[in-house]
């Protein structure tokens, strides 16, 4: 005669003990929290990386404008050329040259505006309406008949 004995799985609390349920829930919750925090961290890192990239481009463009001189493309250099000293003067801006600057593309970003700011207010040399912009301001000397200390602002935006 067969001696099969019927055993229910809950008889000895093997599978459905309260402890096991709580432990499983805690484990799942811990995994869920870990996944959420890692994905959030990754998202934050990506956004931060993009911001830094834009900030560095703005710094590089502003640096080029105030240190270099490019007659053909003043958006990459509008520094004043001192003919007596036979050299380009850093942080001295040629107003005639900077007023000819135009928007310029740099991959997924764009030089969207250049302006001058002083105590009297802000004057744009050119401006394009864009979103997600970053502004870099540099302290310079504007070389006019009367030299004046002023701020040149550069706006780099996403296209």
């Amino acid at each position: 005669m067969s001696s099969w004995k019927s055993i229910r799985i809950t008889d000895r609390g093997f599978m459905f003990s309260l402890d096991a349920v709580i432990a499983s829930m805690l484990l799942l919750f811990a995994f869920y929290t870990l996944i959420i925090s890692v994905s959030s961290f990754a998202g934050q890192g990506s956004a931060q990386e993009e911001y830094v990239e834009k900030e560095m481009l703005a710094l590089a463009v502003s640096e080029a404008i105030v240190k270099n001189r490019n007659m053909e493309n003043p958006s990459t250099g509008a520094a004043y050329f001192n003919s007596e000293k036979m050299r380009v003067e850093q942080n001295v801006i040629d107003p005639a040259l900077v007023s000819k600057a135009t928007p310029m593309e740099f991959g997924k970003y764009e030089l969207s505006a250049i302006y001058e700011r002083n105590r009297a207010g802000k004057k744009y040399f050119f401006e394009q309406e864009r979103e997600n912009c970053i502004v870099m301001e540099r302290f310079v000397l504007m070389k006019e008949l009367l030299e004046r200390k002023t701020i040149i602002g550069v706006e780099v935006c996403e296209k």
Binding site: L59, S62, V66, Q90, N91, F139, V140, L141, K149
Partner: protein, 111 residues
């Protein structure tokens, strides 16, 4: 067997995972911020060197660039404006220039 004061393998593993995760992710400290601040401070020093600015002019110029409490300025060791609070400026990033007999130090905070 007594095992007081000794990490179990589970505890040691958990601890090493935590340490690994802490080291695996980069810190949020922005080194590019330092570059931006240095560039702005350098701009001020370059222009002041060319224009032989007075101390009140320097204060006005730095305020125009960095805002009222956004910069620190020292001339020959005398503090004209205190170090800006917070951010990287708190780590005392200063650019210095010597103009004739004057030593000027300036620190620009992140706007």
């Amino acid at each position: 067997m007594k095992s007081e004061g000794i990490f179990s393998i589970e505890a040691a593993t958990a601890l090493s995972i935590v340490v690994f995760l802490a080291l695996a992710f980069p810190s949020n400290e922005n080194s590019e911020t330092v570059l931006l601040q240095e560039a702005k401070a350098s701009d001020l020093l370059i222009v002041w060197a060319m224009t032989e600015s007075t101390e009140s002019q320097m204060l006005g110029d730095a305020e125009l660039l960095a805002g009222k409490n956004g910069f620190g300025l020292w001339v020959d060791g005398e503090e004209l404006a205190p170090m800006p609070k917070g951010g990287s400026a708190a780590r005392e990033i200063r650019s210095a220039g010597i103009f004739g007999t004057r030593t000027i130090r300036v620190s620009v905070g992140k706007n």
